[in-house]
């Protein structure tokens, strides 16, 4: 019944599409690229009219086609980010239908000893399972603060989350297939489609250097916090690379290529996920060849309690807490300031369960007098890197903003 009705509506829409162009008085720019069953938004059902599937209504939706939604800082208070609150950064359109019984992953490429295809069941039965807490952060998290503005989704602080990922080590699977000694990079391909609907274009096909692929924490995962990965986060299979821009962690994973050169898939080239090889002044135009691939993400922290805007009484102490994460071995300290960075106090800090897991910090603050305060937090990692108070190096695409997080507090 449902299918019959859907087919009929699709037929009606396709029939009406021609007329709609006439109504607007101009051609629909990509009309000829529209695949069957896809209509211009605004004309029909928006992509997800009843909300994002598997996601909380509390997420801040920056973009609904492709879906990009972030999590407000105070909603990230859990030690592990719940699946329905984990941010979404899609470059294309997720596959419409996923059949876990027929889903396969193929490993091939110039530097693969052979090509090999695994079903999901084979992946699960052939290799040892691991569950690791790994933080994923979009390379553009914090972009909204850059000035001059950088184009793209204007993330504030919420394109980050940490989940317990269950799957197999990527290295185990690559070794099973065989990696030639000339291997340089791995690249991924997923089953999402390009926004224009052009089947010859990939929405995104990025990857990591072979040494990163071989790390113990680099995973092919099918579960997140003990459940299926949400559809918008890559169900049924995705890569997980902690410490690198989350765009490296390919979703709806169906193919991995072992390359004898740096992978050149969609969004590996040009300016995407790249920063100037040498620092530049704000607003500088940088040629493509002077842009270098972003690998490691910087140290960062987020105050998740209280929510910004808290008002407390003069005699009360304010408990604060949050998370800190890094691409180095670990975060070794987190400090807070209530005087705009003049003095810093040390927070309590938990040990990480494994590399790339975010660590929890907490402190109790006594304020000297009534008034307006900002609580700032900064993390310091085992490489002695810390967070700047103003914006770090401006770059044309607005990546890598790890300026300290700030919340507003009034003592009345």
């Amino acid at each position: 019944m449902y299918n019959k009705k859907q087919e009929r509506r699709t037929f009606l829409k396709n029939t009406l599409l021609t007329g709609i162009g006439a109504y607007f008085g101009m051609p629909i720019v990509f009309g000829k690229n529209l695949p069957a069953g896809m209509e211009p938004i605004g004309l029909s059902d928006i992509e997800y009219p009843l909300g994002l599937p598997g996601k909380s209504d509390l997420l801040t939706v920056l973009n609904d086609r492709p879906v990009n939604a972030e999590t407000a800082a105070h909603l990230l208070d859990d030690a592990l980010t719940p699946n329905n609150l984990f941010f979404v950064r899609n470059n294309g359109l997720p596959p419409r239908k996923v059949d876990v019984n027929t889903w396969t992953l193929t490993i091939e490429g110039e530097s693969a000893m052979k090509a090999k295809t695994f079903t999901l069941a084979e992946l699960k039965s052939k290799f040892k399972h691991y569950t690791q807490n790994i933080t994923l952060e979009c390379g553009g998290n914090g972009r909204s603060e850059f000035n001059p503005p950088a184009k793209g989704n204007q993330w504030s602080t919420g394109a980050v989350g940490c989940a317990a990922w269950t799957g197999v080590r990527l290295a185990d699977v690559l070794k099973e297939v065989g990696v030639k000694s000339d291997a340089v990079y791995i690249g991924y391909y997923g089953e999402d489609s390009h926004l224009s609907g052009d089947p010859n274009k990939d929405a995104i096909s990025r990857g990591v250097p072979i040494a990163k692929a071989m790390e113990n924490e680099s995973m092919i995962a099918w579960a997140m916090n003990g459940q299926d990965i949400p559809m918008l986060n890559g169900h049924p299979l995705r890569l997980v690379f902690g410490g690198y821009p989350a765009s490296c962690s390919g979703k709806w994973l169906s193919k991995i290529v072992i390359r004898d050169k740096v992978h050149d898939g969609q969004k590996m080239t040009g300016k995407a996920y790249r920063k100037p090889c040498k620092p530049v002044a704000p607003g500088t135009k940088v040629a493509d060849e002077d842009m270098c691939i972003i690998e490691r993400m910087p140290v960062k922290s987020l105050i998740t309690y209280p929510k910004t805007g808290a008002t407390i009484k003069t005699n009360q102490s304010l408990p604060i807490r949050g998370h800190a994460w890094t691409s180095a071995d670990a975060v070794k300290a987190v400090e807070y300031s209530i005087d705009f960075g003049m003095t810093w106090s040390t927070c309590l800090l938990s040990q990480s369960s494994n590399k790339y897991a975010w660590q929890q910090f907490s402190a109790t603050i006594k304020f000297p007098a009534p008034g307006y305060y900002e609580v700032w937090a900064r993390a310091i990692d085992t490489d002695d890197q810390t967070q700047p108070m103003i914006l770090p190096g401006w770059n044309p695409k607005g990546y890598l903003n790890n300026a300290c997080h700030r919340i507003a507090v009034k003592v009345a």
Partner: protein, 179 residues
């Protein structure tokens, strides 16, 4: 006899009975509209014809669905309205050239990708060139200067210095209950 009469009958009909022809055409068009209507509403019509005794649970489900449809319809009716200079459906600034903007800028991606960004006219032009070079956007022809003027007017950058103040206007102050 019949064979001889037919041509003269038709030519006579064509010259004198335009109104009948138009009536026939209208009937055809009407029939097509009814067919489309039936295709769209088939389930509802059939449901109506075979009225069944409904259990309270089914009734509640139907009521819920109806309410949902009404709320969606109400929302859609509001969609093309402009409130405080903002076109509700797209979030774009209202402007005489709004339809040009909608058809050029929302075929592939959401209007939100436009409204959340800020750039100079030159910056917006760079984005259009990038979409043309890599994303399959066609030549915008005469629309391009109209689109660029619109974007540069409503979505221009603001000077925020090296780091903006916390956006105090948008902070919801609340009393934090502490034990």
């Amino acid at each position: 006899m019949e064979n001889q009469n037919r041509p003269s009958f038709w030519s006579g009909f064509m010259s004198t009975n335009w109104s009948i022809l138009i009536t026939i055409l209208s009937v055809f068009v009407g029939a097509i509209i009814i067919c489309f209507g039936y295709l769209f509403l088939e389930d509802d019509i059939q449901k109506h014809l075979q009225k069944k005794e409904l259990t309270p649970a089914q009734l509640e489900k139907l009521t819920q669905r109806a309410e949902q449809r009404i709320s969606i319809a109400a929302e859609e009716a509001n969609w093309d309205k402009v409130v405080d200079g903002i076109h509700l459906r797209t979030g774009f600034h209202a402007d005489p050239n709004l339809q040009t903007i909608i058809s050029a800028c929302t075929s592939c991606h959401s209007s939100k990708l436009v409204t959340q960004n800020r750039a100079t006219r030159e910056g917006w032009e760079t984005m259009i060139r990038w979409m043309q070079a890599t994303q399959g956007l066609q030549d915008l022809g005469d629309s391009e200067p109209v689109i660029l003027d619109y974007l540069a007017k409503y979505y221009a950058p603001k000077a925020t210095g090296r780091r903006a103040q916390l956006d105090l206007a948008n902070i919801e102050w609340y009393i934090l209950e502490l034990e």
